[in-house]
């Protein structure tokens, strides 16, 4: 059995009067790709941010390769250095070129010497086929190109896992293809990923497991085939119908 890379046990996130994440437990093993989907506002992004310790969970534990990140005294910066995060709205650093964006953490988190950091950053850009754009600023790139740089920035540190929060949903439909292609490449290389996405054909192709998320909690899990042919819960059934209809229209 392969090693568990990321795990959460009985995770809760409660804001003043809203429960965003309700008692969620999940595991992602080495080389596995898990895909979370569900209605908007159901807490998927919050869950991902809790797993990356960008938002502290209210209750429950998060583990990264067996190390508990939720107990006091953990060096969270060190932990975050081992987790890649790709944002829905990308958030590239405006004042840095594509290369600068990818290099930053290599220089200042991994403390690589300049030359080595540059080399590694170029490799990461090549992985997303953006090496030709290394010296362009984010504002000079299309949304799809920006997101590919965002992915390169997340994977340059060679993190244990990459968490992707709806990486294509802020992009124009004609630009999602190039990002999906990039993710497909990563999947082929055996990158461990936890993805929030509604790209169903992509999910069917690469996901080892799909997780249907609604009202802050996991409603149903199963293989893509399970969800595409015979989801058990009413909510998942309805949601899949809607998604499949939408995909056909596109």
């Amino acid at each position: 059995m392969t090693e568990t890379v990321m795990e959460c046990r009985n995770l809760w996130k409660i804001y003043k009067d809203v429960v965003a994440v309700r008692d969620v437990s999940l595991q992602v093993r080495e080389g596995e790709i898990k895909l979370i989907f569900g209605p908007s506002g159901s807490g998927k992004s919050t869950l991902l941010r809790c797993l990356a310790m960008l938002t502290p969970p209210s209750k429950g534990d998060v583990f990264l390769k067996g190390e508990c990140l939720t107990k006091p005294g953990v060096d969270l910066n060190k932990a975050r250095a081992r987790i890649g995060f790709v944002f829905q709205h990308i958030y590239l650093f405006h004042h840095l070129t594509a290369l600068g964006n990818v290099e930053l953490a290599l220089r200042h988190v991994l403390k690589m010497p300049k030359e080595e950091a540059r080399k590694r950053a170029m490799e990461a850009l090549a992985e997303v086929k953006m090496e030709k754009w290394a010296n362009h600023y984010p504002v000079q790139l299309s949304g799809g190109q920006q997101q590919r740089v965002g992915i390169a920035r997340a994977l340059a540190r060679k993190p244990d896992i990459i968490l992707l929060d709806e990486p294509t949903s802020a992009l124009d439909p004609e630009l999602t293809g190039e990002v999906i292609d990039t993710l497909r490449d990563l999947a082929k290389k055996g990158t461990t990923m936890l993805i929030v996405s509604h790209e169903m054909p992509f999910a069917r192709e690469v996901a080892d497991e799909m997780i249907f998320f609604d009202a802050g909690t996991i409603v149903e899990t199963g293989t893509p085939e399970h969800f595409f042919t015979n989801p058990t819960s009413e909510r998942a059934k309805k949601f899949m119908m809607r998604l499949i209809k939408r995909t056909r229209r596109e």
Binding site: A52, L54, N77, K78, A79, R80, A81, R82, I83, F85, F87, H89, Y91, L92, F93, H94, H95, L104, A105, H108, V109, Y137, P138, V139, R153, R157
Partner: protein, 221 residues
């Protein structure tokens, strides 16, 4: 009787002081204002209240009152350093500018958005590193147009400093007026010199900053 050119050459002697005060207090403003703005945004409630009070005091009290207060009032108990007029002028204008600039920078931090900070944190950078490598460079670009008018304000406010004995453009202007009893030309000369010292730099900062902001796509959407 001095002709206009002679008056001009005399008053020109004050330019060095005026420029020195404008530049020194401007940089005190940046050096104090930048940390204040970040502490105001990311600091604890107590720190925020402290900074707010500092800003209210230096922005609320007229600079003339501040200068007289520090030079004569506080200078009575602390002759060093406040009995040095040049020091006190830079101290007062510098901190007043820090209070203004802190607000300019804070607007920039808000405008750039919290997401840049979150993205930096997500890479494993510490909070201080994120501020240093991600927020600070953007805040400076974002604020530059606003800093232009802040600089112009300092050049103009430096004119108050002659009341506590700094020998600047205004001090020379006053002497020339007294010596010649000409109440028109010296002021026209002073006005001309102040415009010359404010507009080119203020306009350049504004133009450069706006261009850079556009280039980086930093404009508020």
């Amino acid at each position: 009787m001095l002709d206009a050119l002679q008056q001009f050459t005399l008053i020109l002697n004050g330019v060095t002081s005026t420029i020195a005060i404008s530049i020194i207090s401007f940089f005190i403003g940046i050096l104090v204002g930048l940390p204040l703005s970040f502490l105001r945004v990311y600091g604890t409630r107590g720190v925020q209240i402290l900074i707010d009070s500092f800003e209210k005091f230096f922005r609320g009290v007229p600079e003339l009152v501040l200068m007289l207060m520090f030079y004569f009032g506080i200078g009575l108990y602390f002759p060093f350093p406040f009995k040095n007029a040049f020091f006190t002028v830079n101290f007062v204008l510098g901190l007043r500018s820090a209070a203004n600039q802190s607000q300019i920078f804070r607007g920039a931090i808000r405008g750039i958005g919290d997401e840049q900070m979150v993205a930096a944190i997500s890479l494993g950078l510490s909070k201080v590193q994120s501020v240093l490598y991600v927020m600070l460079p953007q805040v400076i670009v974002y604020s530059t147009p606003g800093l232009g008018s802040e600089y112009a304000l300092l050049v103009k406010d430096s004119a108050y400093s002659f009341v506590i004995g700094v020998i600047d453009i205004m001090a020379y202007t006053d002497w020339v007026r007294k010596a010649t009893l000409d109440t028109v030309t010296p002021y026209l000369i002073a006005a001309f010199l102040y415009i010359l010292l404010t507009f080119p730099i203020a306009t350049w900062l504004d133009k450069w900053g706006s261009m850079k902001k556009r280039q980086l796509g930093l404009e508020r959407k």
